[in-house]
């Protein structure tokens, strides 16, 4: 876990796909990291548009909070994610892309959310943990 210290947000975001990076950078610039994550995770296309397909849901639960709770469990050695953390430990060195990919997949499976949708928020959270230090993040 020490490997994520001193990595800038820019470096984490550089691991994302171009379409993710372009949008999440704009959101971070305009709203800051925390709000950018929320806006990305809750976005559903353009406003004033009625979609012509899919199933309309009215899930008003604060998804961002659920996401952050699960992320913290992963980083802070909660037993729920022991197996997924082992996957990280077999990689040496662990690339930034691997960090994002394994955590997104693990959290996506728990939350019932596409891993690719979570990836930009995971990248931001990893940057936050790196800045704070894991001990401080987990005690918070």
């Amino acid at each position: 876990m020490e490997a994520i210290h001193d990595i800038s947000l820019e470096d984490w975001l550089s691991e994302l796909k171009v379409y993710q990076k372009k949008s999440i950078e704009k959101l971070v610039d305009e709203f800051g990291e925390e709000e950018a994550m929320g806006k990305w995770l809750s976005a559903n296309g353009p406003k004033d548009n009625v979609p012509f397909g899919g199933i309309q849901t009215n899930d008003s639960k604060p998804f961002l909070e659920k996401f952050k709770t699960e992320f913290k469990k992963f980083i802070c050695n909660h037993p729920d994610y022991e197996g997924e953390r082992k996957k990280l430990n077999v990689e040496s060195p662990i690339s930034k892309a691997i960090w994002i990919s394994i955590i997104s997949a693990a959290l996506g499976a728990t939350l019932g959310f596409a891993a690719t949708l979570l990836a930009p928020a995971v990248a931001i959270m990893l940057s936050i943990v790196g800045k704070m230090g894991i001990n401080a993040f987990c005690e918070n």
Partner: protein, 196 residues
């Protein structure tokens, strides 16, 4: 059935909208086309389906686009991707989709119309290139192709229709009167390239 999609690679990548798929990719399948000739009579009583296991590869919640990966290989001609930058207002476009498929009707349908306007639509302060096409679309057509016969390219993907102030309105037999007009929204196909 949730909407329309189209194949974009020989290894089974399929483009549709994010709202067709939703955020949860579990147990997602596509139904293989039930006809091989658009001029054949489509039997609306034929409910046989060929489901194919599918995963979500990429999803853009800002632009409402999604790339799926189905467990198939495709050997036919693939569509070229273009942009609304390449056409002018007033130019003819064709659209293919499955109107009313969300109600269980499976009829691949062609409509011809023209670009009525080019617009920038905003999602969380990020603006993206869209077009208004002058035809009425219905639920099930999201994810359908908008193509330019002049260019021979897919230039857009149908995403819905203009409807301000959604929620709390009147609904008549599951039909929202706000949707019944010819201001159909499509996003420029150029954004798909960044997702492949």
């Amino acid at each position: 059935m949730l909407g329309t999609g189209f194949i974009i690679s020989n290894d089974g990548k399929i483009v549709t909208t994010k709202h067709v798929v939703g955020s949860d990719p579990s147990n997602l399948v596509i139904l293989a086309p039930h006809i091989t000739d658009i001029n054949s009579y489509q039997d609306t009583s034929d409910t046989r389906c060929q489901p194919i296991q599918t995963n979500v590869l990429e999803m853009d919640p800002i632009k409402d686009l999604c790339v799926l990966k189905a467990d198939i290989t495709f050997s036919g001609t693939l569509p070229q991707l273009g942009s609304f930058d390449e056409v002018n207002v007033g130019e003819k476009v064709g659209i293919f989709g499955y109107p009313h498929c969300v109600a269980g009707r499976r009829v691949l349908t062609f409509q011809e119309t023209e670009i009525g306007a080019k617009v920038l639509l905003e999602s969380n302060s990020i603006k993206s290139k869209h077009a208004v096409i002058n035809t009425q679309a219905r639920p099930g057509q999201s994810g359908g192709i908008v193509f330019s016969p002049k260019l021979g390219k897919v230039i857009g993907i149908l995403v819905g229709a203009y409807a301000p102030n959604q929620g709390g309105g009147i609904s008549l037999g599951d039909i929202n009167p706000q949707e019944l007009h010819q201001t159909t929204h499509c996003i420029s196909a150029e954004y798909i390239k960044d997702m492949l």
